[in-house]
């Protein structure tokens, strides 16, 4: 371990010396540890991680939606907006977190800003593609039925764009859950916290690493599955084919 951590909670020292052979030998997974520390380490970290993700994806979706509406209505700004989101996506997460520390300090905001920025790349593009994907024939017939511009948007374009938008939301959510772990390098928060605690142990505390890493993957896959169900629910027509 060469690095020195800027901030973080107290290291979680496993119960060495109490004769638990599994922990003393640092086996790959000690079920007893996971069971004993579910309540004080794993579950709180999981809850924090869900909060981090919900805030990032929620704000990211709001910003992307407004930007995508601009890009959709005014074609001229579409390419510049897409390039901006693309530029933000290229900044490596750990660099982005560090660059924000002088501005926003060691707060959760420092983690949330890059997480929000990364979702824009996926969400902006998917929303614009979804809205642009509505065929002109459909729009013509909607106009022929006497729908106003707002009605066309809310009742025709938005529902038809929903699959693409939700596909973007799935990708953005899964990526955010995974990238959010890196933030714990600076701010002891979320499932990244136990991961970095495990790495801080002299010989890498394997049980904690696997438990927290495994929970992160499980959370990501669960979120993906839930959003897939929403995707099915809002596109009843796709099941008819």
């Amino acid at each position: 371990m060469t690095g020195i951590r800027l901030a973080g909670g107290g290291p979680v020292i496993p119960n060495f010396g109490h004769g638990n052979a599994c922990l003393v030998d640092n086996h790959w997974f000690c079920t007893s540890w996971a069971r004993n520390h579910w309540g004080d380490i794993l579950q709180p970290a999981l809850v924090q991680h869900i909060e981090l993700t919900l805030v990032a994806v929620g704000i990211g979706f709001g910003i992307s939606f407004v930007l995508a509406l601009c890009g959709f209505r005014y074609r001229l700004v579409d390419a510049p907006l897409a390039s901006c989101t693309d530029f933000l996506y290229m900044i490596p997460s750990i660099a982005a977190f560090e660059l924000l520390v002088p501005v926003t300090g060691l707060t959760v905001t420092t983690i949330e800003i890059p997480l929000v920025a990364y979702t824009l790349f996926i969400l902006y593009r998917n929303i614009v593609v979804g809205l642009n994907g509505v065929s002109t024939e459909v729009l013509e017939s909607a106009r022929g039925m006497g729908l106003t511009r707002l009605q066309i948007f809310l009742r025709v374009e938005l529902p038809l764009a929903a699959p693409a938008i939700l596909a973007g939301l799935r990708i953005a959510t899964v990526s955010t859950i995974s990238i959010a772990t890196v933030g714990a390098f600076l701010i002891h928060d979320g499932l990244g916290a136990p991961i970095f605690d495990a790495l801080d142990q002299p010989d890498i505390f394997r049980t904690e690493l696997l438990a927290a890493g495994g929970l992160t993957i499980l959370l990501a896959l669960t979120a993906d599955a839930l959003l897939a169900l929403v995707q099915r629910a809002v596109t009843p027509w796709s099941r008819l084919r």
Binding site: T2, D86, A212
Partner: protein, 219 residues
């Protein structure tokens, strides 16, 4: 200390420590591009073949979701706990992270080529290998390169984080070591990493644009 002066200090650090930054930037690039190269060699032929055969949709989708879900830092820790700290041990992790976007994009790039075009090529007597290399590959190149770009950005970001788990020799060393290099050093390192990632993304992005312009139907 104001925000502006913090960044001024970072640029002063860059001026004073140019050889250190160049050296560690080279270390980071070496690791990242070795991993990216291996990932390309492993994943691209498989992706092209599966796409050409229109087979393995669930593999492509599953691998890309799982690839996004993997927490890079935990994966690095896992490999180091298992194999010990080392250049190639971390390179393996980076390959694991770079394969999903290359595989998924390569698959969808070839799979999505207009079937009529492929039929026409077949009718002209092209062999399957010729169809793949001369028709499907050029037409799918923009999307393939988009995958390569995402993989490159992933790998550079993760190669930086590897320093947290103890791998030395790269720019990450400076970023994770505020005690030795101070806030100015950390910021300078972060700016350099961002510059490397942006430059790489830009180069692949330009190649991507050139490829899609070449393949755009002309009036």
């Amino acid at each position: 200390m104001t925000v502006a002066s913090t960044f001024v200090d970072a640029f002063r650090f860059m001026g004073d420590n140019r050889s250190l930054l160049l050296h560690t930037a080279a270390g980071l690039s070496e690791l990242a591009f070795a991993a990216l190269g291996i990932a390309l060699v492993v994943a691209l032929p498989l992706a092209l073949w599966l796409g050409h055969k229109h087979r393995g949709l669930f593999l492509a989708l599953g691998v890309s979701t799982l690839g996004r879900a993997l927490p890079s830092i935990a994966l690095i820790g896992l490999f180091i706990a298992w194999l010990g700290v080392g250049f190639w041990n971390v390179a393996v992790v980076l390959v694991v992270l770079a394969v999903p976007p290359i595989l998924a994009n390569g698959y969808f790039a070839v799979e999505g080529v207009d079937r009529d075009v492929v039929e026409a090529a077949r009718g002209m007597g092209l062999t399957e290998a010729q169809i793949l290399l001369r028709v499907e590959l050029p037409l799918g190149l923009p999307l393939i390169l988009a995958g390569v770009r995402i993989a490159a950005i992933f790998v550079i970001a993760t190669a930086t984080i590897a320093a947290v788990a103890g791998l030395g020799g790269g720019l990450g060393d400076i970023i994770v070591n505020q005690a030795s290099y101070g806030e100015a050093g950390v910021l300078a390192g972060a700016l350099w990493v961002a510059a490397i990632a942006l430059l790489t993304g830009l180069v692949v992005g330009l190649a991507q644009r050139a490829a899609s312009r070449r393949m755009a139907p002309r009036a």
